[in-house]
């Protein structure tokens, strides 16, 4: 190998050495390479991007949700100034008064539908491609749980504006849960939180919507994507390539960047 140029040296000392230092202690660089530089079947298409699209939608929801939480107040008490509930008043002010509030609220509200639609499209693609089969059963099962959590997000989030539509849709939703056999009426009473659906229900739905369910969702998405990375993306059913056939060795991804020590090979 030729002597290193000044630039190479600079890169080595300023970027690669610190990365190596971190990697040696945490395996973070190896982990990132394992996650990002994977082989995928030659004949995949846009259909396989639906999962990533759903992930993007989820990230948008998480970020806009955190920002909305900075201005939204989950209280059913009547605001003495506006004569309306505090929750509804805070939603009105986000929409009509706070700079760019309409945009972030709109992203969160429309994004909710986009997220659910993408989940169904992604699920449909996985189903039609038969990608739920061995060894990806658990990927499918975590996906089903993600879908259930996603719909719970929609249910708990819908109440928060505390307007007539939100309120009565939630009354109907709670009672709909109440019709489930055996445990249904208990679940409905738990969600209603008392003899009427009021302040306690609003606070409960808010806590579920912004703390409990997103926490579960993030954990499930983590497992889901770990499994996708570990098992690789499946070939489409019409693929000419036999599943699992060895392909000629390629230069390990990242080797050129000098990121790899020894073995290389991100996958």
């Amino acid at each position: 190998m030729a002597a290193k140029s000044k630039k190479d040296l600079l890169v080595e000392n300023a970027i690669l050495a610190p990365l190596d230092w971190v990697d040696e202690r945490t395996a973070a660089v190896r982990g990132t390479k394992w996650f990002l530089f994977r082989n995928v079947p030659r004949d995949i298409s846009w259909a396989q991007t639906l999962g990533s699209a759903a992930l993007t939608a989820f990230i948008v929801m998480a970020v806009t949700g955190v920002i909305l939480a900075m201005y939204y107040e989950p209280s059913a008490t009547i605001d003495p100034v506006s004569g309306k509930s505090v929750a509804y008043t805070s939603i009105e002010s986000i929409t009509n008064e706070l700079t760019l509030g309409w945009l972030v609220r709109g992203m969160h509200r429309w994004g909710a539908s986009v997220f659910i639609i993408l989940l169904f499209l992604h699920m449909g693609r996985v189903f039609l491609f038969g990608a739920y089969k061995y060894p990806r059963e658990l990927t499918w099962i975590t996906g089903v749980l993600i879908l259930a959590m996603g719909m719970l997000m929609g249910f708990t989030g819908y109440l928060l504006p505390w307007d007539q539509t939100a309120y009565w849709a939630t009354v109907v939703g709670i009672n709909l849960n109440g019709t489930a056999p055996f445990a249904g009426p208990w679940l409905a009473q738990f969600l209603a939180g008392g003899p009427e659906i009021g302040s306690d229900a609003l606070a409960k739905f808010y806590a579920l919507h912004m703390l409990a369910i997103p926490g579960a969702l993030i954990a499930l998405i983590g497992v889901h994507i770990y499994l996708v990375t570990r098992l690789g993306v499946s070939s489409p059913p019409w693929s000419g390539e036999a599943a699992g056939r060895e392909r000629p060795a390629v230069e390990p991804a990242g080797a050129r960047a000098g990121l790899v020590r020894g073995s290389g090979g991100g996958d």
Partner: protein, 310 residues
């Protein structure tokens, strides 16, 4: 490396008594703060377990040395194995110190976990089911209810909670029953499909509106009730005429106190035949909207919490 001659047990075998003793002492100290009963229990525990422990520890001194199997470890000693290839492997001990420690760590962890989790989960769930009693609503003198027409009676069950606690009933004075007692048909406004506010299908006589100690009374000319949510339709007895409801409208029991109409508990109705004072009503304990109270489907809801969800 290992000198086996020193690895013989020179302490008593594993014992649970010190743990009981420690719990007793902790209980005693806690009891000093909260109540003497707890302190007494703690003292008893500490004394009993302390004595048991002392008995165990002093066993050799008291000369009834038990047969204790020497403790052995299942460590693969390659050197020893190589030097004595024919030696039969020692039988695995059934209960070693490490297994005891493992079990007690898991057990204690589970106990601590339960002590912390159970009350927390209780706080999450129980407030929804407790302290839900509502006071009886007094709808005022029965003269305010003209015979044969419905009156919309509306009030806040819990004024601090605001509009969400509004209860509305459709009250019809049926005139005296055969027995001579006054008879009222009192339908609860919440739809037995999924809980939306059912509306009377007819003009409200706003001029005859009255307000009696916080209860708003408005006569209405209606022989049926409709639900705005999914088109449920009920007749003047609350029987389902159309749409998705699965039973007849809920009703209030009532009593007359000093000539005033007082609402009692809410109950569910399978169906009503006949009408007015002579109607026969199949009455059931209140149940969540959307749940059947009669027929085979009612088996799906054997126990229902007794409160009205809004």
């Amino acid at each position: 490396m290992s000198d086996t001659s020193q690895d013989t047990p020179h302490v008593p075998g594993p014992s649970l008594w010190p743990i009981g003793f420690a719990i007793g002492v902790a209980c005693l100290l806690l009891g000093l703060v909260i109540s003497w009963i707890v302190a007494a229990i703690g003292a008893v525990l500490a004394v009993v377990f302390g004595l048991l422990w002392a008995r165990d520890v002093t066993r050799d001194v008291r000369d009834e040395v038990p047969e204790i199997e020497p403790e052995t470890r299942a460590v693969a000693d390659t050197a020893a194995a190589a030097s004595a290839p024919d030696a039969a492997p020692a039988p695995l001990p059934t209960y070693t110190r490490s297994r005891f420690l493992e079990a007690s760590t898991i057990g204690l962890g589970a106990a601590i976990g339960a002590i912390v989790t159970v009350p927390v989960l209780g706080f999450m769930v129980l407030p929804s089911f407790t302290n839900l009693e509502e006071s009886e609503a007094d709808l005022g003198p029965i003269d305010n209810f003209p015979e044969g027409t419905f009156v919309i009676a509306s009030y806040l069950a819990n004024p601090t909670a605001g509009e969400v606690s509004r209860r509305t009933a459709f009250v019809r004075n049926n005139g005296p029953a055969e027995s001579g007692e006054p008879s009222f048909t009192i339908l609860y406004s919440r739809c037995v499909h999924l809980g939306c506010p059912v509306q009377p299908n007819g003009p409200i006589d706003e001029d005859a509106r009255k307000e009696v100690n916080g209860v708003e009374l408005r006569p209405v000319l209606a022989q049926s009730f409709g639900c705005p949510c999914h088109g449920g339709l009920y007749d003047a007895e609350g029987n389902r005429q159309a749409g998705p409801p699965v039973r007849s409208m809920d009703r209030y029991a009532f009593s007359i106190k000093d000539g005033r109409l007082v609402l009692g508990e809410l109950f569910a109705v399978g169906s009503v035949s006949g009408s007015g004072a002579s109607a026969s009503i199949s009455r059931y304990p209140w149940s969540t909207p959307g749940t059947h109270v009669d027929g085979i489907e009612a088996w799906l809801y054997p126990i229902v919490p007794s409160q009205v969800t809004g």
